[in-house]
Symmetry: C2
Amino acid sequence: MSAPHQNTAAEPSLDLIESDGRTLADRVFSRLQDDIVRGHLLPGTKLGETELASRYGVSRGPLREAIRRLESRKLLERVPHVGTRVASLSLPALIEIYHVREALEGMAARLAAQFMTDAEIASLADLLVQHEQQQDLKEDVAYFQREGDLDFHYRIIQGSHNETLIQMLIGGLYHMVRMYRYQFSTVTNRPQRALREHRGIVEALEARDGEMAELLMRRHISRARQNIEQQTTQSAGTADG
Amino acid sequence: MSAPHQNTAAEPSLDLIESDGRTLADRVFSRLQDDIVRGHLLPGTKLGETELASRYGVSRGPLREAIRRLESRKLLERVPHVGTRVASLSLPALIEIYHVREALEGMAARLAAQFMTDAEIASLADLLVQHEQQQDLKEDVAYFQREGDLDFHYRIIQGSHNETLIQMLIGGLYHMVRMYRYQFSTVTNRPQRALREHRGIVEALEARDGEMAELLMRRHISRARQNIEQQTTQSAGTADG
DNA sequence: CACGGCCCGGTTGTAGACAATTACAAGCTA
DNA sequence: TAGCTTGTAATTGTCTACAACCGGGCCGTG
């Protein structure tokens, strides 16, 4: 097993020597964020700078820059002179996020009804058809819930054509949502209903009915939140929306 | 005027040697942010790392960490291998921010009506009385517009008791709003009306009427945005809200 | 005279070494 | 034995030096 290059993928993440356009700090940032969001690094894990630096094959400089950026995204918690650990998201914090999503994505849906092009809406409808087929076939439902419906929400958010809004949701909140989903390996217990709600939203967009789109989106997210609250007061967590 | 210490305020920012609890990078971060927001560094200014480092009396390491954090707050724009410059906020971007504020602060007002303590609301009412007196005396109206009414909005935001929401508004958007105000040295042309609107919001809070508080706050911010749009299509900008 | 390639100064990106602070543990004292 | 003090190891914070990359000016050529 004597490897000339560091190409062996024994550890979850080792090499990022190959150079694209981005800088080392950028790549470490992406890599670390992915490891956190996908649950390779569990919440509360202590992150030693020296260890991480050698693990990713970079010096501590770029690593620290990546840490700083992840800290401002609330994915890492840092205490001066003490250390960095992976942020542990609490249930109340998650509920807060869903409340904010309700306001923000409701707004996004309203703007999307106004600004999305016909082509974008048609593409979104196509996506929904794919989801319905996957749903019918019972084929990898987990995938649908994990990434599929995020695509749905992403597209509507970007359809708002409001860069500030897009940045706040996709660049900020959604990392936490995704992290939560991976943490609790949650598969919604109401996929049928969620899918119906998605379809209703698309229909509102097709009708260019902004108020209706906002109403339905808010209701959709609100129900997802209520679902989380219900499930978690009993045992394990679950979400969609 | 030969000063033994670096107490002379000739340059906008020179010394931060005195050590409190925080780390160097943190202090540089605060200092830089302040210089940007208050307009000591004008939008579009090229920021050389070496020059800045010597200006603030630190090495490039802490400086770069501060830059990275300001970049994720959208106060700096960075291009790899090229350089960093102060973000120049465009009018469309500002309008976007006000649209988001409308949704977010409307939500904050609704939550504030639910969660603010009686003491907090009373204190807010006191603040408003102070503003009205300043207003009556025509005494430093600029101050009222610059910082005074921000206090008003800050308190309601924090009254929401939703940490995510607070972070997004006060930790994110409001820096841009403040920067805009300093840039255009804007004094609202409708202080009377803005003050009346503030009072209406407080009354809704006192009545614990969340829906009314949200409605009034949204209307308040919407009017401020319309005011900006009107003024800027003609000549200089102005804002409140 | 215009255009393209090359060289050079300067800036940013990265690495490694040094200093400062914290946390833990062993030893001393009451 | 309990509590405090102090010493030590390890980690983080900071600095200096080196390497890689970009931009602008110069020269040669069509």
